[in-house]
């Protein structure tokens, strides 16, 4: 392998139901930074069916080139057809870096592709940077449940591949127009690629705001005591109004108190709202890994030694069931006053 032959930063721009995943735009934003340090371009690769209009959006968010692999066989994600096409694109274009979202799709597709093209893959990265001397990609990720961080390199194989957790990188402010060059990649899927059959697709309907989109998260942990007490969190979130919603620690999801899509942390979602209010959350390292980059963190917990207080900007030791109703009233009053003035 001649490493010099590999050029460009590629992003696997994931879509489902012809809607681009948020992480795809975050990755394009990060790729732009890396490409600048390397003096190269960003290429977004979309696989799907009827995906034409995604090219513009990717261009506005920073892609210099967009490759569209448009085929009815790629409409619904299946491991092998996707791995087959993406491997072909990689072998034809020889990118030096390929980024994927660390999603249920990316974490299935990327390892298959890495084994097939024989290159390294670093999972769930939270930091990516170019080594100024060697130009290698430094990929930083948590290990041991977030207890330690490791920076990984892939010096002798190309492309250097990484999955990145959604919510970690920031998308750029989109340009008004896209100037991306669009290439329609000719897809040829052998029949053997269809080695599994999708019998049914069941979507979980949620009319609630995605916790990754919230500006304010009111988050509850085991210390809430019982699922009924989550109403106190709902009340506080409602008092803050638009942009606020309720999230949770893993313990409450495991106990069946709240839905999995509300979970913050290592095995849940990474969030960085303007305000994170942790109620009855002790702050296991796996939870902290998912929220510690929030702009402002408030913690309420009855255990004064709870680790959550180590990351909180403001902490209150006390009983959440007593403090929350009073706090909610005050927030309501303050917002009402603000609206009057």
């Amino acid at each position: 392998m001649n490493i010099q032959d590999y050029k460009g930063v590629f992003v696997f721009a994931q879509q489902e139901d012809n809607k681009l995943a948020g992480v795809s735009l975050e990755l394009v934003g990060k790729a732009k930074e890396l490409a600048k340090d390397l003096g190269t371009e960003v290429t977004a690769v979309v696989l799907g069916s009827g995906i034409e209009d995604m090219a513009k959006k990717l261009g506005r968010y920073g892609a210099d080139n967009v490759i569209l692999a448009d085929d009815p066989g790629l409409k619904v994600y299946m491991t092998e057809p996707y791995a087959h096409v993406l491997t072909q694109v990689i072998e034809a274009k020889k990118p030096e870096i390929v980024l994927y979202g660390a999603t249920a799709i990316g974490r299935d597709l990327a390892p298959r592709v890495s084994a097939r093209v024989h290159t390294g893959l670093t999972a769930d990265c939270t930091g990516l940077e170019v080594d100024p001397e060697t130009k290698n990609l430094r990929m930083t990720r948590p290990a041991f449940g977030g207890n330690i961080m490791a920076t990984i390199i892939c010096p002798e194989f190309r492309p250097q591949m990484a999955t990145v957790r959604p919510g970690v990188m920031q998308r750029i402010h989109p340009a008004a127009e896209s100037s991306a060059k669009v290439e329609h990649y000719k897809v040829e899927l052998p029949q053997e690629s269809f080695n599994v059959e999708v019998l049914d697709i069941v979507k979980k309907v949620s009319d609630r705001m995605d916790i990754q989109d919230a500006k304010i998260l009111v988050s509850g942990g085991r210390g809430m005591g019982c699922p009924e007490n989550f109403q106190l969190l709902e009340d506080l979130a409602a008092a803050f109004g638009n942009g606020a919603t309720v999230s949770s620690s893993r313990a409450c999801v495991d106990a069946g108190w709240v839905e999995k899509d509300r979970q913050v942390g290592q095995t849940g979602k990474t969030v960085r709202p303007n305000l994170y209010i942790a109620c009855g959350i002790s702050g296991a390292i796996q939870h902290l890994a998912g929220m510690e980059d929030s702009d402002l963190i408030i913690a309420i917990n009855k255990d004064e030694y709870a680790p959550i207080f180590e990351v909180a900007d403001y902490g209150v030791v006390g009983d959440v069931t007593k403090i929350l109703p009073a706090f909610t009233e005050q927030v309501k009053r303050a917002i009402a006053e603000k609206n009057e003035s």
Binding site: I105, R107, A123, I152, N195, V196, V316, G318, F327, Q330
Partner: protein, 260 residues
Amino acid sequence: MNIVVCIKQVPDTNEVKLDPKTGTLIREGVPSIINPDDKAGLEAALRLKDSMGAKVSVLSMGPPQADVALREALAMGADEAILITDRAFGGADTWATSSTLASAVKKLPFDLIITGRQAIDGDTAQVGPQIAEHLHLPNISYAEEIKVEGDSIIVKRQYEDRYHIIKAKMPCLITALAELNEPRYMTPMGIWDAYHEKEVKIWTLEDLDVDRANIGLKGSPTRVWKSFTKPLKAAGTVVNTDVQDSVEFLMDSLRSKFVL
């Protein structure tokens, strides 16, 4: 039916604590366990064995201490346990680990391979799909439910906001989520058998047909360049007072940060 289950022995990361002074990991006294997703995979295999009859072989790659995890698998009801251990396998990343495990699986008869989705120490979720790739088999990741129908397996495959019901012809590989089931406990008889009647076979480099260039540190495309503990954020202000003052404090904090 022959089922091969791959398990990893991991430190219970929920028990790992940081030394607040040095910022290093305190590993002493941290128990080793079978990785939770892998244990759910093993349980799924044992349930198929209970319901339709199957031979369950358990593989683990690791240091000699991983023997304990394999004995636990035997005590739960696995028929055969194999420890893949050799200094030459040390320092392997997921690519090299999966190529080693794939070469071990190849020596066994199998219809179904089950791995956990990911291990709690590394959290990569790569080894399962990579084993499938090395063996040119279909894989279905993130299995929440599985059932066997004739020569096929039907899996409820989890995604963020949906699930797919996927059917694949065996042989194939699936990666199990801890949510799949509640693993059984070892029985006293099982434990006795695991230590007195059954054996943990040892396979070393010589037992496997694997290219030396594809194993261990040398066969690993990725390297750890450095590892470190996260710098702790400066502690904020914490108050311990009555409800009224606490709420007043919270309101002042929000006002000072212009949230309200």
